[in-house]
Amino acid sequence: MSILNLLIAVCLGYVVFLFSVAFAADRAARRGRGAWLRSPIVYTLSLSIYCTAWTFYGAVGFAARSGLEFVTIYLGPTLVMIGWWGLLRKMVRIGRSQRITSIADMISSRYGKSNLLAVIVTLIAVIGTTPYIALQLQSVTLSINAFAQVDLPGDQVSETGTTGFLIAAGLALFTVLFGTRNLDVNERHHGVVMAIAVEAVIKLCALLAVGVFVVWGLGGGPADILARVDASDIARWEVSNSRWIGLTMLSAAAFLCLPRMFQVMVVENQDESHLRTAAWAFPTYLMLMSLFVIPIAVMGLDLLPEDSNPDLFVLTLPLMHGQDGLAIFSFLGGFSSATSMVIVAAIALSTMVSNHIVMPVWLRMTGGTAMMSGDVRSVALLARRLSIAAVVFLGYLYFRLSGGGTALAAIGLIAFVGVAQFLPALLGGLIWRGATRSGALAGVSIGFVTWAYCLFLPSFGPDVLISAEVMQAGPWGIGWLRPYALFGTEGIDNVVHAVLWSLSLNVAGFVGVSLLSFPTPVERLQGAQFVNIFDHSGTSGGWNAGMAQSEDLLIMAQRIMGPDEARKLFARSAQLQGLPGFLPEPSPEFIELLERELSGSVGAATAHAMISQIIGGANVSVEDLLAVADETAQIMEYSSQLEAKSNELADTARQLREVNDKLTKLSVQKDAFLSQISHELRTPMTSIRSFSEILRDTQGLDAGAQAKYAGIIHDETLRLTRLLDDLLDLSVLESGTVVLNPGRARLGDLLDRAIDATGGLDARLRILREAAREDIVVDTDLDRLVQVFINLIANCRKYCDAPQPELRIDVTQRDDTVEVVFADNGTGVPEELQSIIFEKFVRVGETKAGGAGLGLAICREIMTRLRGEIVCLPKPQGGGFLVSFPVAGGLQAAGENVAD
């Protein structure tokens, strides 16, 4: 049995072994017996997919060509890993709390769940990873060819394509079987992770075994090896400083940004504390992986023919020395490195492609609604499976087209530079709240274009994609745009040159555009969530789900999560809300939870889009914030209205109280008046009766006494008549049946008349007037107006309590209105009486001046008829009254009632 056949048999056996490991792990996990599957060691081992076949075989070749420089590829990840506390912990926390499914999802979530950004990141990832997959296929075929050459020396194996295709197909099958068991990416792929962990152990053991064989079997121990190193081509430390630093930084960046690394490090992470173990265990793993690289390289250079491929020293050294078993083990190590990388890369890429490209397109094509018929879940799974096949097939295609030449060998670092373009957006998003979506888009795009122009496209060789002329002289002869000497930076390594320019321009674009643009509300919320993840482990807020229907949400969730899972989730939420049945209230908390769950299956951007379709696009927008503000304003307005109403009520109550007081007072006044009027009527009636009885009954009265008694009776009758006249007058005025007689006169004359009628000017009352201002001709019922004046002057004579009574009559004309103020120097009308002084029967004081209390009431009625008014002036201006009336046209038709 030739060694090639043996190799194929072992290889097939190994594949079967891997399938059974994955199957057993999956089964154990499903039965809940897989606690050991979740150990930190498994997590650490799964990180080892960083070491692909490129590093397994290529590191030795790298070392044979440029000495110790190969180690930079491992130093970068070491530095990242030992600094886990600062950065990785944050990424893992965010990945878990936001249910991140891929690096594209992470970046898109941070920048407002932007699908455009996710699509760009996905495309770059595919472009950067496809050659890498091709590289793995190449390394496996090359290693098989190495065995074939032992069997059939000199015969160039022609079956490269077939081998590559078989491997690709097998890997795609494995990945589909174990990588898409469940839609929720956050549910760990136990089978896959376990297989990877086993492969990690195998590749480490294989490399260590070869190393031990080389150092102690072929060489004479460490001292001998060191001596050989000193004697070899790589004896001198000739590492270029820029490459040493540049490659270390590049590998650190790639470690964070490679989709497959992100997949195992963040997405598949089950427990943040696993990082603690990985913090030292993974650097140790890397150190062990590189420990024997230099010895193997030196021994290979020493012992193998000049023309042998240094990339295959790991394999050819044992093979050439008859150690077939070790060679096969070594092959398995390389095979493991290749397969685990392809599997995880395919899972990571397929998740990104199906979540960010296929699903959004499919959702749009099916009418843009999440409520379509059919099972979204199966569509998503199918999309993911097809994506896996497509990604692996793309890698195979690339491998066939590129012909497996040296260009492919260089692709490892080139791919690193490509994915490193995510770093500014990723890191910036984690530490800088000011980073915006536009900034991230600008940075990633600029970096990607620069990378493609400076490194990726030229890597295919001159005249393939970029002409030799452009490489030499720059496009259109512009020298400073030469791909390998951008802006005249000549003399540095191509890769370092590309890293320098692509990342510098990337950062400049990212920061510059971020500074100039303004983030949307969702971006700002997410930014705060990401940057301050340790301060509050809440989630992105913002669902305003008044309109969301729980049933619609359930229907959609069932299609994505599966009916059982969805119903369980809903029932649990309903229970938490204290509701019977299985439909929870669509509270913002519940919808956030649901979105997070869904985003574990279809990515944040798609989950957000689907939920917003049901909620009615009600994610947080400036409009929503404004609406909230409006609502607040409305509430405030409403409460101020309430306040106004209650003030109004208080006013009304106060007025009612005042009216009530007034009524009570009036009632008291009326009672008082009734007794007063009966007294007023009774007194003259008593006199009249007494004196008329004397006249009737007494004989022999002298004429003088008779005349005197008759005079008394006459006076008393007049007094009675006057009283009754007043009452009659008032009732006429009040009933509105009074007839007014218009006339025209000077106001001064009217006042003269009034003063004369009240007794003229005498020493008892000084009347102060200003004749010039009284020169106003008024057109009204003159007699009635004079009656008012008389009443006021008479009142003053009767009631003014000053020692030297004084009445000032002040006339003012305002527009068409004449105002006449009658102000005396007495105490005036008491405040408590001012409101009722114009009522009937109200008198100031008890019976002092003997009036009936009708005068002012009559005055008010008259003034109302004359379309004027009479008011009582408050004390500061002297006790007094203001009479105002129109200069002309103030007459009212009789019977017209304006008092009401």
Binding site: G83, G86, R93, D230, R236, A279, L593
Partner: protein, 95 residues
């Protein structure tokens, strides 16, 4: 946010824990310095660089292990200090 609520001077244990976090953050800076040192070397045999690099590497792994171990021990014994977010992974709200 949480910062404002925290006392200015933390308890001794919390203080130690935060400094341990600082050490964990600074470890890669130390590593970068140590790994960067060879670029200043002139005319050095590869073997010396080889031994230096691997010894440094081993030292960093040990230091990292020590820091991680101390952080774990502290996390087990002491409560969280929210200020620098060193609390244990919070359980998912719903699983």
């Amino acid at each position: 946010m949480t910062q404002a609520k925290d006392p200015i001077y933390a308890e001794r244990q919390t203080y130690r824990r935060r400094r341990l976090g600082d050490a964990a953050r600074l470890l890669p800076v130390l590593g970068a310095g140590l790994f960067g040192l060879p670029i200043f070397w002139q005319e050095t045999p590869t073997t010396r660089a080889l031994i230096y690099v691997f010894l440094t590497w081993a030292l960093l792994c040990i230091l990292s292990g020590l820091v991680a171990w101390r952080l774990r021990a502290d996390a087990a014994g002491e409560g969280d200090d929210g200020a620098d977010g060193s609390e244990e992974a919070k359980p998912e709200q719903v699983t």
